[in-house]
């Protein structure tokens, strides 16, 4: 009562922002607390992104780094091969293939994660409270462990003398070890193993809020389980499916460790192609251009997803 009229200015400000009142009367001091974040992330992450875009339009220096003169060569190199003698351009699909392989592996990993993750998330969401908490904790835990070590674990399973070969040969299913490593399937398995928790968590958050009474009602109206699933559960889960798919797709598309450890030498994906340009190939502008292309692809997917979920909201609104 008295403090709001005669108290110190700072106390007034605080009292106002504790209960959001009419907007725009004065600038709350607490807003200044955003500054450290803006300074650190702005300077050490947003500026570097700008530098990547700039570098992609420069010329490479011989021992790594860049020469400051404008050149679109890095982007030309992505699609064409320049003849060293007469400078003519020939269409070259080598890099495009790597990019498309990255995209298709990321899509495959997302679909497989969805197929495993959806039933799991649904199952957990329909458990009693105590079991729910334990199960979700178990799903979250691998996310916090070292990605390098987890990829190494996949290596231990798929190696010629790994768990799968040992077990199957022990059971005399076959006598000679089968090579599971160093192909697209091994990489897809590695991606699913790495990012599966990302699919389950948003799905679980969504399915937990599904009104189970709706399912009962559908059964009361003589719907078969398949119809209940496709017409009650799936439409409700759509935002969760979109969120989970993005969380698996985006890191899968940029993965470095999976192709590096499970893909073998010849199986490049865009993630380790970028690393290679900044490492032993010493072509920073080309690496930067690849990073920009990767970033553009991700932005495109995010925008598509945003427009999809907006159209869902519009449908749900009327």
């Amino acid at each position: 009562m008295t403090y709001s009229t005669s108290g110190s200015d700072s106390r007034m400000l605080n009292a106002r922002h504790l209960r959001p009142g009419p907007r725009g009367r004065s600038f709350p001091l607490s807003r200044l607390l955003m500054l450290p974040t803006i300074a650190v992330i702005g300077f050490f992450l947003v500026v570097p992104l700008g530098i990547i875009v700039t570098y992609s339009f420069l010329e490479p220096a011989t021992f790594g780094g860049v020469v400051w003169s404008f050149s679109p060569e890095a982007y030309i190199q992505f699609l064409f091969e320049r003849d060293i003698f007469d400078d003519t351009l020939a269409f070259n699909t080598a890099y495009l293939q790597i990019f498309l392989r990255s995209v298709s592996l990321a899509v495959a990993a997302t679909l497989v994660s969805l197929m495993i993750g959806f039933p799991t998330a649904y199952f957990i969401a329909t458990r009693p409270e105590r079991q729910k908490n334990i199960l979700i904790f178990l799903i979250t835990l691998p996310f916090w462990t070292n990605l390098l070590i987890r990829t190494f674990c996949v290596l231990l399973i798929l190696r010629d003398d790994g768990l799968i070969n040992t077990v199957l040969m022990g059971l005399h299913i076959y006598e000679k070890p089968v090579t599971y490593l160093y192909n697209n399937t091994a990489m897809a398995a590695g991606l699913v193993y790495s990012y599966l928790p990302f699919m389950i968590l948003p799905l679980y958050a969504n399915l937990e809020r599904l009104d189970k009474g709706l399912i009962e009602a559908a059964y009361d109206l003589y719907a078969k389980p398949w119809r209940v699933f496709t017409e009650v559960v799936l439409p409700h889960a759509r935002p969760g499916i979109i969120a989970g798919s993005l969380l698996v797709f985006v890191p899968s598309l940029g993965t470095f460790l999976v192709p590096d450890m499970l893909g073998g030498g010849g199986r490049l994906l865009i993630g380790n192609l970028i690393q290679l340009q900044f490492g032993s190939s010493r072509n920073w502008p080309f690496g930067a251009a690849l990073a920009v292309i990767l970033l553009a692809a991700i932005l495109l997917v995010l925008m598509l997803a945003a427009s999809r979920s907006r159209s869902v909201n519009v449908q749900g609104g009327h």
Binding site: S30, T120, I124, L138, I139, I149, F152, T166, G271, L295
Partner: protein, 276 residues
């Protein structure tokens, strides 16, 4: 009667095969790690053939000087980056976590979470280019800067969710009793926020300890952390010693995350009653 009706309701909402899928999911997530841990105790040199129980690889790893050096780097980086990131994240949470609505709030959330949304390889090459442009020599300092940036969102999220569920009437009561803004903050807000801050700091520590790609890109000579050491060793061949180091790293992450979870849980006293 009630128990029976919940049971029938549960069987009604479940679909056939979903439970089996959940079991498969847990098997997929945990069997590879179990294999790693098991073979770290193998007496045999072979990585996948069991030859009896032994601690020898742990003993060997512990006396390895390259490993000790990398472990020391990891701890230094994780401690400094965690402290910086948690301080920054706490201030960011205080600026946004109390239901303030203002123009630019959405943009600010996007900025805080930017390190989470970008693929690591892009952050890695961006940060490397940035240090090169500034003419900074790669060292432990560049690693600490890079780690601080990507640790911020991880400590921000628990602190913010703690702030959102905190009973704000306690702060208001302190001010009604003529506490100055600073005293109310120091003696009411901070103690109430502490579980969130601790939980956030532990998560930041784990994330810093686990990072490989960004570290590998911006670490100068002699600034390699444990994951960088493990990677270099892996490239030379898989040995049971790596299993032992990896098991220790896994155990540290799991213990810290479990601790973070329980700290956040234990702190949920004094939170706002659910219905009001």
């Amino acid at each position: 009667m009630a128990a029976q009706s919940t049971r029938s309701m549960r069987s009604l909402v479940s679909f056939r095969g979903f439970g089996a899928m959940a079991a498969l999911c847990l098997i997929i997530l945990y069997v590879p790690m179990a294999v790693l841990v098991t073979f770290s105790f193998n007496a045999n040199r072979a990585v996948t053939v069991w030859g009896g129980f032994s601690f020898q690889w742990y003993v060997k790893a512990a006396s390895n000087s390259g490993l000790q050096y990398a472990a020391w780097n990891s701890l230094t980086v994780a401690l400094i980056a965690t402290t910086l990131a948690t301080a920054i994240a706490t201030s960011a949470a205080l600026a946004t976590g109390r239901g303030q609505r203002f123009r630019g709030a959405q943009a600010f959330y996007a900025l805080v979470n930017l390190p989470l949304m970008l693929p690591e390889i892009i952050i890695a090459v961006g940060t490397l280019s940035f240090f090169a442009l500034l003419g900074m020599t790669l060292s432990l300092t560049t690693v600490i800067i890079a780690h601080t940036v990507f640790c911020i969102p991880f400590s921000y999220l628990p602190i913010r969710s703690r702030l959102e569920t905190m009973d704000r009437r306690l702060e208001e009561a302190a001010m009604d009793l003529y506490a100055t803004q600073w005293r109310a903050f120091r003696h009411v807000t901070m103690p109430l926020l502490m579980p969130g801050i601790m939980s956030g700091a532990m998560l930041a520590f784990v994330v810093s300890l686990d990072d490989f790609i960004i570290t590998a890109m911006v670490a100068g000579a002699g600034a390699g952390t444990l994951p960088v050491y493990v990677y270099t060793q892996l490239k030379q061949g898989v040995t049971p010693e790596i299993n032992a180091i990896s098991t220790v790293l896994l155990a540290v992450s799991i213990l810290l995350v479990a601790a973070s979870y329980f700290v956040a849980k234990a702190g949920s006293r004094y939170s706002r009653p659910a219905a009001s």
